[in-house]
Symmetry: C2
Subunit: 170 residues, 2 copies
DNA sequence: ATGATTTTTTGATCTATGTCAAAGGTTATG
DNA sequence: CATAACCTTTGACATAGATCAAAAAATCAT
């Protein structure tokens, strides 16, 4: 299995601000971040809304587009110079079909992701902008300071101005 | 595999208002709803906050508690008289270990669930109470009228009063 | 470095939604 | 079938956070 895995992997570098995935294409690549940071976002009324941020040690793709091989709303870009290794969806399918332990790995890591998302849904309701920001800092504990304020604001669903004021008092 | 599956399954009935799962226990059972409706909720400042609703054809449990076998914040109750068939976590583990196709089924249905959750996170930001309610009606198209107003309000993170007014104008 | 972008902060309003309170409806129970 | 328990609606008022505008600070490119 190791050999099959190693053969499927390629390396890529992205400059800060460079596009990693475009919403007009089906996502066929999943990136494992070695260094740097990627942002998954979409456009709403012409504005970029950050969906989430991925840093070292995380797999990044446009989830529904990658798993279902169809179009979705998400763009991905690099918010720092970033080094990744990539796997193509067809190689991953091959691995799933030939190595059942991969299937288990995927199921378990999806379970973890699901837990995080559920927690986030929870944190978004019945909470003030302050509480949302506090939760964000906790969820992204050691990387939150690497993300520009405007992106954090759109992630939280509040305006830049409000977030700026929140940071000022804290 | 069919035999193994059938032997693991038991049937249960819940009356409207009856508790299905208590947050003080680890969740060891997953319920497949044959008829009726269950609600997953948690307590915030003594109030019940609905996390989501499950109807016919869906598996219901306390997600992190069931998959990680640890405590979590969620309670589950029946909001209608409900008939379910249940599987115990240890039986499911057995099936996963002995029937790789089960593993795949679980991974794929998790992927679907993940997509839904992501969409929900999206819908919670930058939307007015009106938009949130409209999205809810869409997401729960043919079952939303079966859910009491107060529960819908807490699901959306708005007050009952606001939801009542939204419904009035529409 | 130095001017040009871009990002963040600050200030002055405005509005959607929350809170509190009470009255109507509806459903369950002895 | 009556009374209690619960659920929904309506009203008056308060407030967190949005919007618009512009200054200040930080970052980028020549």
């Amino acid at each position: 299995m190791e050999a099959a895995l190693i053969n499927s992997i390629t390396f890529r570098d992205f400059k800060k601000g460079e596009m990693v995935h475009h919403a007009e294409r089906v996502c066929t690549t999943s990136c494992f971040i070695l260094q740097g940071m990627l942002r998954v976002y979409y456009l709403k009324d012409g504005r970029e809304v950050s969906e989430y941020f991925c840093a070292e040690g995380e797999w990044t793709n446009s989830p529904r587009s990658f798993t279902q091989q169809q179009l979705d709303i998400y763009y991905i870009d690099a918010i720092e110079d970033t080094k990744v290794c990539c796997i193509q969806v067809q190689d991953l399918v091959y691995l799933f079909n030939n190595f059942p332990e991969m299937e288990r790995y995927a199921r378990l890591s999806m379970g973890t992701l699901l837990g995080h998302l559920l927690e986030r849904v929870t944190s978004q309701r019945f909470t003030t902008a302050h509480e949302k920001y506090a939760h964000f800092c906790q969820a992204y504990h050691n990387i939150h300071h690497r993300i520009p304020l405007g992106m954090v604001a759109s992630y939280l669903g509040i305006t830049q101005e409000t977030l700026s004021r929140i940071r000022a008092v804290k």
